[in-house]
């Protein structure tokens, strides 16, 4: 998380960074105070966030991370710009290519298509959260062995997607792979290797 003045909270939000740190240390009762305003729209209660920056807490790779962010900031940009978790890549930025794939409560999502404010109640796992230290997961090792990567920019997204796919399809057919891994694009053309990974690898031992 950044600690410099360039990303200090917008004074118009009424909560300074220091205030926010103090408040968030108080505990569970506070979100009720700080929580979004509710309005009724189309017969439903809808949360209104902002305007300006609001305090956001994300549970990422088992840790609670906090920042002051505008409600329009995506989960992807929050991960990359505010928490320096840059494994998920910003490529199409509109839910088409899969390079930003992360797990939200155990399911794959395009982090560019989720707002950070909406991800607050979820358990988020990024590529960085799949490993501990330098050791590779079996799926990661298989990507290396089958050379299922070239420039590597789509690779973390593919890795998260493939890991999740293999957990739900331990013995995939070629047709399963065609359907299950078609949510990610690669420009260098590494699909042949990824297909080999999916056919040959068991994901045991990997974190989820």
């Amino acid at each position: 998380m950044k600690d410099d003045d360039t990303r200090r909270p917008d004074p118009s939000s009424g909560v300074t960074r220091r205030d926010f740190m103090k408040i968030s240390g108080i505990g569970v009762a506070v979100p009720l105070v700080l929580g979004p305003k509710m309005v009724e729209a189309a017969g439903e209660e809808v949360a209104v966030h902002g305007p300006g920056k609001v305090p956001i807490t994300l549970n990422v790779n088992g840790k609670n991370l906090m920042a002051q962010l505008e409600p329009r900031v995506t989960l992807l940009d929050a991960l990359r710009d505010n928490f320096n978790l840059t494994g998920a890549k910003r490529v199409c930025d509109r839910g088409a290519c899969g390079a930003c794939t992360v797990l939200m409560d155990g399911k794959t999502v395009y982090a560019c298509a989720v707002l950070a404010v909406d991800a607050q109640s979820a358990k988020i796992t990024t590529i960085e959260g799949l490993t501990q230290g330098d050791a590779l997961t079996p799926v990661m090792q298989a990507f290396v062995d089958h050379d299922a990567q070239q420039c590597g920019f789509c690779t973390p997204g593919f890795l998260v997607a493939t890991t999740h796919f293999l957990e739900s399809h331990p013995n995939p057919t070629k047709e399963d792979i065609r359907r299950g891994l078609s949510g990610n694009y690669c420009r260098c053309g590494t699909y042949n290797g990824i297909r080999a990974v999916a056919l040959a690898t068991k994901p045991q031992g990997s974190a989820s």
């Binding site: 950044k2 940009d77 990359r80 509109r94 590597g152 420009r187 260098c188 990824i194």
Partner: protein
């Protein structure tokens, strides 16, 4: 005498083996840091306001509101009032702010007014009379007609009809006559009426007609003639990591730059010159790059904008990475290339004549001229190319510039001729291999291997799958060539007394396996494990190594590394020889030991040997080329054959890949695993541009209609079918030295797939991508 020559096959512990790329673990774990990921404290986010019109002049710019907005740290006008802009998406104003949201808001607060000008974005077949303007001829127009060898009668008729918009002086007329303009034309110029204006410049630029032999005679006497329309649309590079740069002024005239580039060593001079600071004061850094494919050579206008914004913001780092829409519009495209081509063969099936008119666009600069006819030097030819200037972001080199287009046109024409002759195209091509010159032997080796892997003899049928049902299956093939000689490369190799080795080189790894190749060559030469070698690349402070383009990197970096490693080994042998009581030339470095060749029991471990260097490490310098250290370790000229097997649903027009086969030569292979990956990747990229990719411009607005990744469609994992790659190795191949591999295998897929579709459905679908609408249109045309 040192032995720089590549070692014999028997003594190559690592060269040519299947070795996993050394940076694989960093990439799969998300630890690899790209320019896009550069995220230091205090980083300012840069954004660019772009022109929404395909052709316009800026009349006013008002940035005052943006400058006052909270969080905005700098505003830089990139192109000011009065500037004429030639494509939608061109850069107008840059902003740096504390985060992207603040920068986006500031961009929206800038007011720019434009005078909208007429645009032209069509690369459809040029009208018959192009080159003949309707308005008065300017001096340029006139010279263009002459350069293009337009017949005198036509030129005179145009001058008489339209007049001229310049005043030719006597001196000019004399010079023209001396340069070959005929007296009749000079006379017409003298008599021409002067007409004000001449602003109606044609977007079409014709090359001179190129003629070889007697094409008319040869066509007249040929046994078979086939004529057709072929081509490939404009596509984009669509690098997954968009173009971008981060600049930080670390002193009055000093900068550190992080940039997504294929050209680490060549970048600083391009940044320094417009800023007026010494190139040596700029450090350029890049560890990983998310794709380039020919499009990332310079700092570009957005990169220079980060330098200006950083300066205005007191030197703080400013990063601009293009949004996807901008990337697709302005950061790189491959020119379209279409052609009407006619080919003829004699009764023995020997090609005797070729005629083509080709055209295409590469943006305002037109497009390149495809080398037609591709590969085959047909004895009698006539050809002409028309480059079309269109209002769109300029073309950039795209893997194997002009070759894929030339292959689609030529190999399509050959396949059509074979169909007309009711002949198997493999047979027709085989009969004409001598026309391919130097690579004939390579193709002769490769064709049967490809045919075997494809089961061509079993699966091929004459044009038009006659089996019942809507799904038709077909086979097609194509062939290609490329140079690929290693570029200039320098490196420093240091051996430490503890046995560790480090190499420094100002190169970059685009995902081709460049890091892996360098370490393999050094480890193979020094006889030590790859883990003993620490490689440093991606920094302009390291010895200069060429940009990665044209398949030149592998040859260049492997040759400089080999020479450095051989010299280091020789100098180490000189230190160690007295200890082993041998002469230096009697020693060898294998299995992490230095030992006497004739008596391996007299040996030192690599570590012990290095300790004889004394207290100080030893650095040697390697170069490519280096005439003092022969032989040449790299070479030029490869051949490849590819075959495609497709199914086409004639009710929906959808094309599906069943299988692709690639047989490829690239001289001495250093890492078989990454080499095969390169070919597999090229096949997939080829399937992508053959079936899906097209940069679509709206004729009404001049804007790109699909500047994104849902409608600019790449092939996915479900689109590729089965793939088989065979690399040519062994005698006649290894001994040629190292040759680059990035361009050649991406040339043929479009042509091979187009031919397979024609074989399946019985008619030619002229242009790539072979989308359902095009397939259905061709089927209707074929039936009517």
């Amino acid at each position: 005498m040192s032995e720089y020559q590549w070692p014999d096959p028997a003594t190559r512990p690592l060269l040519g083996k299947r070795i996993s790329r050394v940076d694989g673990p960093a990439k799969v774990s998300g630890r690899a840091k790209y320019t896009y990921d550069y995220n230091p404290n205090g980083l300012l986010a840069g954004k660019i306001l772009r022109c929404p019109y395909a052709h316009a002049r800026i009349t006013s710019i008002d940035t005052s509101a943006a400058e006052k907005m909270p969080g905005v740290k700098a505003v830089h006008v990139i192109q000011g009032p009065g500037t004429e802009l030639f494509w939608a998406g061109d850069e107008v104003v840059g902003v740096a702010a504390i985060d992207e949201q603040a920068a986006e808001d500031a961009i929206r607060a800038i007011k720019v007014q434009y005078e909208v000008l007429p645009h032209f974005v069509s690369d459809a077949e040029p009208p018959k009379n192009v080159g003949i303007n309707t308005g008065p001829l300017s001096q340029d127009d006139f010279e263009e007609l002459e350069d293009n060898q337009v017949p005198d009668e036509q030129v005179i008729a145009t001058i008489n009809k339209n007049g001229i918009s310049f005043h030719p002086s006597e001196k000019y007329l004399k010079a023209s006559q001396e340069s070959g303009v005929s007296a009749k034309v000079i006379q017409a110029l003298r008599a021409a009426k002067y007409v004000e204006g001449g602003a109606t410049r044609s977007p079409y630029k014709k090359t001179a007609v190129q003629k070889q032999g007697e094409p008319d005679k040869a066509f007249a006497s040929a046994a078979s003639v086939s004529e057709g329309l072929y081509g490939a649309s404009c596509i984009t590079h669509c690098c997954l990591e968009t173009h971008g740069m981060a600049s930080e002024w670390t002193g009055e005239k000093e900068m550190v730059v992080h940039v997504s580039t294929q050209n680490v060593s060549g970048m600083a001079p391009q940044i320094a010159e417009p800023l007026g600071i010494p190139a040596g004061n700029i450090q350029v850094l890049e560890q990983y790059v998310g794709g380039g494919f020919g499009s990332k050579w310079g700092p570009d206008r957005w990169g220079m904008t980060t330098a200006h914004l950083s300066k205005a913001a007191g030197g703080k780092p400013v990063k601009i990475m293009l949004e996807r829409a901008a990337e697709q519009q302005v950061a790189g495209m491959r020119p379209s290339g279409y052609g009407r081509a006619k080919i003829a063969a004699d009764k023995d099936g020997k090609f005797v004549a070729w005629e083509s008119t080709s055209w295409g666009t590469g943006g305002m600069g037109g497009g390149g001229t495809p080398p037609l006819p591709y590969i085959f030097d047909i004895p009698n030819q006539r050809k002409q190319n028309i480059a079309i200037a269109t209002n769109q972001g300029s073309a950039r080199a795209w893997r194997a510039p002009t070759h894929p287009q030339a292959a689609v046109i030529t190999m399509g024409a050959i396949e059509d001729l074979a169909a007309k002759m009711n002949m198997d195209p493999v047979e027709l091509i085989t009969r004409n291999l001598e026309l391919t010159g130097k690579r004939a032997g390579t193709y002769r080796d490769e064709l049967p291997i490809a045919a075997e892997l494809m089961e061509w003899k079993k699966k091929w049928h004459p044009r038009g799958d006659q089996t019942p049902g809507p799904v038709k299956r077909g086979l097609g093939l194509s062939m290609h060539t490329w140079g690929g000689r290693g570029h200039n490369s320098d490196c420093d190799l240091t051996v430490h007394p503890d046995g560790s080795v480090e190499i420094k080189m100002g190169t970059q790894d685009l995902g081709t396996g460049c890091r892996t190749v360098i370490i393999i060559v050094a480890a193979d030469t020094l006889g030590i494990p790859m883990e003993n070698i620490k490689l440093f690349i991606g920094d302009s402070r390291y010895p200069v190594s060429g940009g990665s383009g044209g398949s030149t990197t592998t040859g260049g970096v492997s040759a400089s590394t080999r020479r450095a490693a051989v010299d280091a080994r020789e100098r180490l042998f000189a230190k160690v020889a007295p200890v082993l009581k041998a002469k230096p030339e009697e020693l060898e470095a294998v299995d992490a030991t230095v030992r006497v060749k004739s008596d391996p029991s007299r040996s030192l471990s690599w570590k012990e040997a290095c300790s004889k260097l004394g207290a100080m490490p030893m650095t040697v310098h390697g170069k490519n080329p280096d005439k003092s250290k022969t032989p040449d370790l790299t070479n030029s000229g490869v051949g490849g054959v590819q075959m495609a097997d497709v199914s086409v649903d004639i009710e929906t027009g959808i094309v599906r890949m069943n299988k692709m086969v690639a047989v490829q030569d690239c001289g001495l292979i250093i890492d078989l695993k990454t080499a095969e990956s390169q070919v597999l990747g090229a096949l997939i990229m080829g399937i992508s541009y053959a079936l899906y990719e097209e940069k679509i411009l709206d004729p009404v607005t001049g804007r790109m209609l699909n500047p994104n990744m849902e409608f600019y469609r790449l092939a996915g994992i479900s689109d590729i079918g089965e793939m088989k790659v065979h690399m040519m190795t062994g005698k006649d191949y290894d001994e040629r030295g190292v040759i680059g591999l990035a361009e050649p295998p991406v040339i043929s897929p479009g042509a091979a797939i187009s031919n397979a579709v024609a074989n399946a459905i019985g008619v030619r679908v002229p242009f790539l991508p072979l989308t359902p609408d095009r397939v259905l249109a061709a089927l209707q045309g074929g039936r009517s």
